[in-house]
Symmetry: C2
Subunit: 184 residues, 2 copies
Protein backbone atom coordinates (compact mmCIF):
# COMPACT_ATOMS: atom_id res chain seq x y z
CA UNK A 1 0.00 0.00 0.00
CA UNK A 2 1.65 3.22 -1.21
CA UNK A 3 0.55 6.54 0.27
CA UNK A 4 1.18 9.93 -1.33
CA UNK A 5 2.21 12.18 1.56
CA UNK A 6 0.74 15.46 0.34
CA UNK A 7 1.24 18.76 2.10
CA UNK A 8 3.13 22.02 2.19
CA UNK A 9 5.67 20.16 4.33
CA UNK A 10 7.88 20.31 1.24
CA UNK A 11 8.39 24.02 1.98
CA UNK A 12 9.84 23.34 5.44
CA UNK A 13 13.53 24.12 5.82
CA UNK A 14 13.94 20.57 7.16
CA UNK A 15 11.68 19.01 4.53
CA UNK A 16 13.82 15.90 4.08
CA UNK A 17 13.95 15.11 7.80
CA UNK A 18 10.20 15.72 8.04
CA UNK A 19 9.55 13.36 5.11
CA UNK A 20 11.82 10.71 6.64
CA UNK A 21 9.94 10.93 9.95
CA UNK A 22 6.58 10.63 8.20
CA UNK A 23 7.78 7.68 6.14
CA UNK A 24 9.01 5.94 9.29
CA UNK A 25 5.61 6.40 10.95
CA UNK A 26 3.85 5.00 7.86
CA UNK A 27 6.16 1.98 7.85
CA UNK A 28 5.05 1.13 11.39
CA UNK A 29 1.51 0.77 10.02
CA UNK A 30 2.48 -1.23 6.94
CA UNK A 31 2.21 1.74 4.59
CA UNK A 32 4.92 2.83 2.14
CA UNK A 33 4.95 6.64 2.35
CA UNK A 34 5.97 8.62 -0.73
CA UNK A 35 6.88 12.28 -0.20
CA UNK A 36 6.90 14.58 -3.25
CA UNK A 37 10.29 16.15 -2.59
CA UNK A 38 11.88 17.84 -5.56
CA UNK A 39 15.49 17.29 -6.46
CA UNK A 40 16.78 20.81 -5.81
CA UNK A 41 19.99 20.07 -7.70
CA UNK A 42 18.16 19.23 -10.92
CA UNK A 43 15.71 22.10 -10.58
CA UNK A 44 18.43 24.69 -9.95
CA UNK A 45 19.66 24.14 -13.50
CA UNK A 46 16.26 24.73 -15.07
CA UNK A 47 14.63 28.04 -16.02
CA UNK A 48 11.57 28.82 -13.84
CA UNK A 49 9.14 27.97 -16.65
CA UNK A 50 10.61 24.49 -16.94
CA UNK A 51 11.16 23.96 -13.22
CA UNK A 52 7.52 24.27 -12.18
CA UNK A 53 6.35 22.02 -15.00
CA UNK A 54 8.98 19.44 -13.98
CA UNK A 55 7.68 19.51 -10.39
CA UNK A 56 4.06 19.25 -11.56
CA UNK A 57 4.76 16.27 -13.81
CA UNK A 58 6.89 14.56 -11.16
CA UNK A 59 4.11 15.02 -8.59
CA UNK A 60 1.47 13.61 -10.94
CA UNK A 61 3.74 10.65 -11.75
CA UNK A 62 4.19 9.92 -8.04
CA UNK A 63 0.43 10.28 -7.44
CA UNK A 64 -0.26 7.81 -10.26
CA UNK A 65 1.98 5.31 -8.48
CA UNK A 66 0.21 5.69 -5.12
CA UNK A 67 -2.88 3.90 -3.85
CA UNK A 68 -4.04 6.50 -1.34
CA UNK A 69 -3.35 10.07 -0.27
CA UNK A 70 -2.59 11.16 3.29
CA UNK A 71 -2.76 14.96 3.19
CA UNK A 72 -1.54 17.59 5.62
CA UNK A 73 -4.53 19.94 5.59
CA UNK A 74 -3.29 22.27 8.32
CA UNK A 75 -4.25 25.85 7.31
CA UNK A 76 -1.57 27.46 5.17
CA UNK A 77 -1.34 31.18 4.36
CA UNK A 78 -5.03 31.76 4.65
CA UNK A 79 -8.19 30.31 6.11
CA UNK A 80 -7.75 26.96 4.35
CA UNK A 81 -5.31 24.19 3.59
CA UNK A 82 -2.49 24.55 1.05
CA UNK A 83 -3.83 24.99 -2.48
CA UNK A 84 -1.58 22.50 -4.24
CA UNK A 85 -2.44 19.87 -1.65
CA UNK A 86 -6.15 20.45 -2.30
CA UNK A 87 -5.75 19.88 -6.05
CA UNK A 88 -3.98 16.61 -5.21
CA UNK A 89 -6.71 15.64 -2.73
CA UNK A 90 -9.33 16.23 -5.43
CA UNK A 91 -7.30 14.22 -7.93
CA UNK A 92 -7.35 11.14 -5.67
CA UNK A 93 -11.07 11.62 -5.08
CA UNK A 94 -11.65 11.87 -8.84
CA UNK A 95 -9.58 8.75 -9.37
CA UNK A 96 -11.63 6.85 -6.82
CA UNK A 97 -8.52 6.27 -4.70
CA UNK A 98 -8.96 6.54 -0.92
CA UNK A 99 -8.50 10.00 0.61
CA UNK A 100 -7.22 10.61 4.14
CA UNK A 101 -6.21 13.87 5.76
CA UNK A 102 -5.40 15.64 8.98
CA UNK A 103 -5.03 19.14 10.34
CA UNK A 104 -2.93 20.32 13.26
CA UNK A 105 -5.33 23.21 13.86
CA UNK A 106 -8.00 22.89 16.52
CA UNK A 107 -9.81 26.00 15.25
CA UNK A 108 -12.95 25.88 13.17
CA UNK A 109 -13.10 27.18 9.62
CA UNK A 110 -15.51 30.01 10.33
CA UNK A 111 -13.29 31.39 13.11
CA UNK A 112 -10.27 31.29 10.83
CA UNK A 113 -12.23 32.88 7.99
CA UNK A 114 -13.33 35.73 10.27
CA UNK A 115 -9.73 36.22 11.48
CA UNK A 116 -8.59 36.34 7.87
CA UNK A 117 -11.21 38.95 7.00
CA UNK A 118 -10.18 41.04 10.00
CA UNK A 119 -6.47 40.91 9.10
CA UNK A 120 -6.78 41.52 5.37
CA UNK A 121 -9.35 43.98 4.06
CA UNK A 122 -12.15 41.95 2.50
CA UNK A 123 -12.30 42.73 -1.20
CA UNK A 124 -15.87 41.44 -1.29
CA UNK A 125 -17.77 42.83 1.71
CA UNK A 126 -20.90 40.96 2.67
CA UNK A 127 -19.80 37.63 1.30
CA UNK A 128 -21.20 34.75 3.34
CA UNK A 129 -18.91 32.91 5.76
CA UNK A 130 -20.05 29.31 6.03
CA UNK A 131 -18.67 27.04 8.67
CA UNK A 132 -20.98 24.14 9.49
CA UNK A 133 -18.82 23.43 12.55
CA UNK A 134 -16.17 22.00 10.22
CA UNK A 135 -12.38 22.38 10.24
CA UNK A 136 -12.29 23.69 6.63
CA UNK A 137 -14.43 23.99 3.50
CA UNK A 138 -17.10 21.29 3.32
CA UNK A 139 -15.69 19.85 0.10
CA UNK A 140 -12.57 18.86 2.08
CA UNK A 141 -14.49 17.16 4.89
CA UNK A 142 -16.70 15.52 2.28
CA UNK A 143 -13.70 14.25 0.30
CA UNK A 144 -12.28 12.66 3.45
CA UNK A 145 -15.55 11.19 4.68
CA UNK A 146 -16.91 9.92 1.36
CA UNK A 147 -13.53 9.31 -0.29
CA UNK A 148 -11.77 7.54 2.57
CA UNK A 149 -14.53 6.70 5.00
CA UNK A 150 -13.09 8.77 7.83
CA UNK A 151 -13.41 12.27 9.20
CA UNK A 152 -10.29 14.44 9.06
CA UNK A 153 -7.92 13.62 11.92
CA UNK A 154 -7.84 16.60 14.28
CA UNK A 155 -6.46 17.46 17.72
CA UNK A 156 -8.77 15.74 20.20
CA UNK A 157 -7.70 17.91 23.12
CA UNK A 158 -8.71 21.22 21.54
CA UNK A 159 -5.08 22.37 21.30
CA UNK A 160 -3.57 23.33 17.95
CA UNK A 161 -0.20 21.77 17.19
CA UNK A 162 2.70 23.38 15.37
CA UNK A 163 2.52 22.98 11.61
CA UNK A 164 5.13 20.23 11.57
CA UNK A 165 4.02 18.24 14.63
CA UNK A 166 3.43 14.60 13.76
CA UNK A 167 1.11 13.16 16.42
CA UNK A 168 -2.08 13.99 14.50
CA UNK A 169 -0.43 12.68 11.33
CA UNK A 170 0.26 9.41 13.15
CA UNK A 171 -3.36 9.21 14.34
CA UNK A 172 -4.43 9.70 10.72
CA UNK A 173 -2.07 6.99 9.45
CA UNK A 174 -3.28 4.57 12.13
CA UNK A 175 -6.93 5.26 11.26
CA UNK A 176 -6.24 4.92 7.54
CA UNK A 177 -4.44 1.60 8.07
CA UNK A 178 -7.39 0.40 10.11
CA UNK A 179 -9.93 1.54 7.52
CA UNK A 180 -7.97 -0.20 4.77
CA UNK A 181 -7.93 -3.48 6.64
CA UNK A 182 -4.53 -3.41 8.26
CA UNK A 183 -1.15 -4.13 6.76
CA UNK A 184 -0.87 -4.99 3.09
CA UNK B 1 -21.07 20.22 -23.53
CA UNK B 2 -21.86 20.77 -19.87
CA UNK B 3 -19.52 22.91 -17.77
CA UNK B 4 -19.41 22.88 -13.98
CA UNK B 5 -19.09 26.55 -12.98
CA UNK B 6 -16.97 26.16 -9.86
CA UNK B 7 -16.06 29.01 -7.57
CA UNK B 8 -16.81 30.83 -4.35
CA UNK B 9 -19.31 32.85 -6.37
CA UNK B 10 -21.94 30.83 -4.51
CA UNK B 11 -21.13 32.95 -1.43
CA UNK B 12 -22.00 36.22 -3.19
CA UNK B 13 -25.11 37.96 -1.91
CA UNK B 14 -26.31 38.03 -5.54
CA UNK B 15 -25.21 34.45 -6.25
CA UNK B 16 -28.25 33.63 -8.39
CA UNK B 17 -27.86 36.69 -10.63
CA UNK B 18 -24.14 35.95 -10.95
CA UNK B 19 -24.85 32.35 -11.94
CA UNK B 20 -27.46 33.46 -14.48
CA UNK B 21 -24.98 35.90 -16.05
CA UNK B 22 -22.30 33.22 -16.26
CA UNK B 23 -24.74 30.73 -17.76
CA UNK B 24 -25.78 33.29 -20.39
CA UNK B 25 -22.14 33.87 -21.36
CA UNK B 26 -21.56 30.11 -21.64
CA UNK B 27 -24.63 29.76 -23.85
CA UNK B 28 -23.15 32.26 -26.32
CA UNK B 29 -20.24 29.82 -26.78
CA UNK B 30 -22.36 26.71 -27.06
CA UNK B 31 -21.70 25.58 -23.49
CA UNK B 32 -24.35 24.61 -20.94
CA UNK B 33 -23.19 26.14 -17.68
CA UNK B 34 -24.13 24.42 -14.41
CA UNK B 35 -23.76 26.44 -11.22
CA UNK B 36 -23.68 24.55 -7.90
CA UNK B 37 -26.22 26.72 -6.10
CA UNK B 38 -27.76 25.19 -3.04
CA UNK B 39 -31.48 25.30 -2.39
CA UNK B 40 -31.46 27.48 0.70
CA UNK B 41 -35.05 26.52 1.47
CA UNK B 42 -34.26 22.83 1.71
CA UNK B 43 -31.04 23.39 3.63
CA UNK B 44 -32.64 25.67 6.19
CA UNK B 45 -34.67 22.73 7.43
CA UNK B 46 -31.65 20.50 7.94
CA UNK B 47 -29.30 20.32 10.92
CA UNK B 48 -25.77 21.58 10.08
CA UNK B 49 -24.34 18.06 10.02
CA UNK B 50 -26.85 17.05 7.37
CA UNK B 51 -26.78 20.32 5.44
CA UNK B 52 -23.08 20.24 4.54
CA UNK B 53 -23.25 16.59 3.49
CA UNK B 54 -26.28 17.39 1.31
CA UNK B 55 -24.32 20.21 -0.38
CA UNK B 56 -21.26 17.96 -0.86
CA UNK B 57 -23.28 15.14 -2.41
CA UNK B 58 -25.25 17.56 -4.60
CA UNK B 59 -22.02 19.14 -5.83
CA UNK B 60 -20.47 15.75 -6.63
CA UNK B 61 -23.64 14.70 -8.45
CA UNK B 62 -23.55 17.86 -10.57
CA UNK B 63 -19.82 17.36 -11.25
CA UNK B 64 -20.50 13.79 -12.38
CA UNK B 65 -22.99 15.17 -14.91
CA UNK B 66 -20.56 17.74 -16.33
CA UNK B 67 -17.97 17.28 -19.07
CA UNK B 68 -15.60 20.07 -18.06
CA UNK B 69 -14.94 22.47 -15.21
CA UNK B 70 -14.59 26.25 -15.58
CA UNK B 71 -13.29 27.45 -12.21
CA UNK B 72 -13.13 30.89 -10.65
CA UNK B 73 -9.63 30.76 -9.14
CA UNK B 74 -9.52 34.38 -7.98
CA UNK B 75 -7.75 34.45 -4.59
CA UNK B 76 -10.17 33.93 -1.72
CA UNK B 77 -9.40 34.59 1.96
CA UNK B 78 -5.71 33.93 1.62
CA UNK B 79 -2.94 33.74 -0.94
CA UNK B 80 -4.72 31.14 -3.05
CA UNK B 81 -8.00 30.25 -4.70
CA UNK B 82 -11.02 28.98 -2.76
CA UNK B 83 -10.34 25.61 -1.15
CA UNK B 84 -13.56 23.87 -2.18
CA UNK B 85 -13.06 24.98 -5.77
CA UNK B 86 -9.55 23.46 -5.72
CA UNK B 87 -10.86 20.08 -4.58
CA UNK B 88 -13.33 20.21 -7.47
CA UNK B 89 -10.59 21.23 -9.92
CA UNK B 90 -8.51 18.26 -8.79
CA UNK B 91 -11.52 15.96 -9.12
CA UNK B 92 -11.97 16.86 -12.79
CA UNK B 93 -8.23 16.41 -13.37
CA UNK B 94 -8.36 13.00 -11.70
CA UNK B 95 -11.35 12.06 -13.81
CA UNK B 96 -9.52 13.04 -16.98
CA UNK B 97 -12.17 15.66 -17.74
CA UNK B 98 -10.92 18.98 -19.18
CA UNK B 99 -9.99 21.66 -16.67
CA UNK B 100 -10.28 25.40 -17.34
CA UNK B 101 -9.89 28.28 -14.93
CA UNK B 102 -9.47 32.00 -14.56
CA UNK B 103 -8.46 34.54 -11.96
CA UNK B 104 -9.47 38.18 -11.72
CA UNK B 105 -6.23 38.99 -9.89
CA UNK B 106 -3.30 40.41 -11.83
CA UNK B 107 -0.92 39.82 -8.91
CA UNK B 108 1.55 36.97 -8.76
CA UNK B 109 1.37 34.24 -6.15
CA UNK B 110 4.63 35.12 -4.43
CA UNK B 111 3.55 38.76 -3.95
CA UNK B 112 0.24 37.62 -2.45
CA UNK B 113 1.99 35.06 -0.25
CA UNK B 114 4.34 37.75 1.09
CA UNK B 115 1.39 40.08 1.74
CA UNK B 116 -0.36 37.28 3.58
CA UNK B 117 2.70 36.62 5.74
CA UNK B 118 3.00 40.33 6.53
CA UNK B 119 -0.67 40.62 7.54
CA UNK B 120 -0.95 37.45 9.59
CA UNK B 121 1.94 36.37 11.79
CA UNK B 122 3.62 33.42 10.09
CA UNK B 123 3.21 30.37 12.31
CA UNK B 124 6.13 28.74 10.50
CA UNK B 125 8.93 31.29 10.08
CA UNK B 126 11.47 30.56 7.38
CA UNK B 127 9.14 28.49 5.24
CA UNK B 128 9.99 28.87 1.55
CA UNK B 129 7.76 31.05 -0.63
CA UNK B 130 7.79 29.68 -4.15
CA UNK B 131 6.33 31.67 -7.01
CA UNK B 132 7.75 30.66 -10.37
CA UNK B 133 6.14 33.78 -11.86
CA UNK B 134 2.77 32.02 -11.62
CA UNK B 135 -0.63 33.33 -10.52
CA UNK B 136 -1.05 30.63 -7.83
CA UNK B 137 0.43 27.29 -6.68
CA UNK B 138 2.03 25.38 -9.54
CA UNK B 139 -0.39 22.45 -9.18
CA UNK B 140 -3.17 24.83 -10.27
CA UNK B 141 -1.35 26.13 -13.33
CA UNK B 142 -0.32 22.58 -14.14
CA UNK B 143 -3.89 21.29 -13.83
CA UNK B 144 -5.08 23.95 -16.27
CA UNK B 145 -2.23 23.52 -18.74
CA UNK B 146 -2.02 19.72 -18.75
CA UNK B 147 -5.68 19.08 -17.91
CA UNK B 148 -7.28 21.53 -20.32
CA UNK B 149 -4.50 22.54 -22.65
CA UNK B 150 -4.64 26.23 -21.71
CA UNK B 151 -2.99 28.56 -19.24
CA UNK B 152 -5.27 30.14 -16.65
CA UNK B 153 -7.16 33.11 -18.09
CA UNK B 154 -5.84 36.28 -16.42
CA UNK B 155 -6.17 40.04 -16.83
CA UNK B 156 -4.05 40.92 -19.84
CA UNK B 157 -3.78 44.60 -18.93
CA UNK B 158 -2.14 44.05 -15.55
CA UNK B 159 -5.21 45.35 -13.71
CA UNK B 160 -7.01 43.19 -11.15
CA UNK B 161 -10.77 42.99 -11.54
CA UNK B 162 -13.34 42.85 -8.77
CA UNK B 163 -14.05 39.33 -7.56
CA UNK B 164 -17.34 39.12 -9.46
CA UNK B 165 -16.28 40.80 -12.74
CA UNK B 166 -17.03 38.57 -15.71
CA UNK B 167 -14.79 39.70 -18.56
CA UNK B 168 -11.95 37.32 -17.67
CA UNK B 169 -14.52 34.56 -17.16
CA UNK B 170 -15.79 35.24 -20.68
CA UNK B 171 -12.26 35.11 -22.09
CA UNK B 172 -11.83 31.74 -20.35
CA UNK B 173 -15.12 30.40 -21.75
CA UNK B 174 -14.18 31.56 -25.25
CA UNK B 175 -10.75 29.91 -25.02
CA UNK B 176 -12.26 26.70 -23.63
CA UNK B 177 -14.83 26.57 -26.41
CA UNK B 178 -12.05 27.05 -28.95
CA UNK B 179 -9.86 24.38 -27.35
CA UNK B 180 -12.75 21.94 -27.32
CA UNK B 181 -13.42 22.46 -31.01
CA UNK B 182 -16.22 24.96 -30.98
CA UNK B 183 -19.90 24.46 -30.28
CA UNK B 184 -21.19 21.03 -29.45
Amino acid sequence: MKAYLAGPDVFLTNARENAAAKTAICARYGILGQAPLSDAGTLANLPEAQAWRRIYLDNIEMMQACDIIIANLTPFRGASADSGTLVELGWFLGQGRPVFGYSNSAEYFDARSQAQLAAIADPIPGLAVEGFGLPDNLMISGAAEYGGGLALALPQDGKSRSFDALDIFEACVAAAAGALGGKS
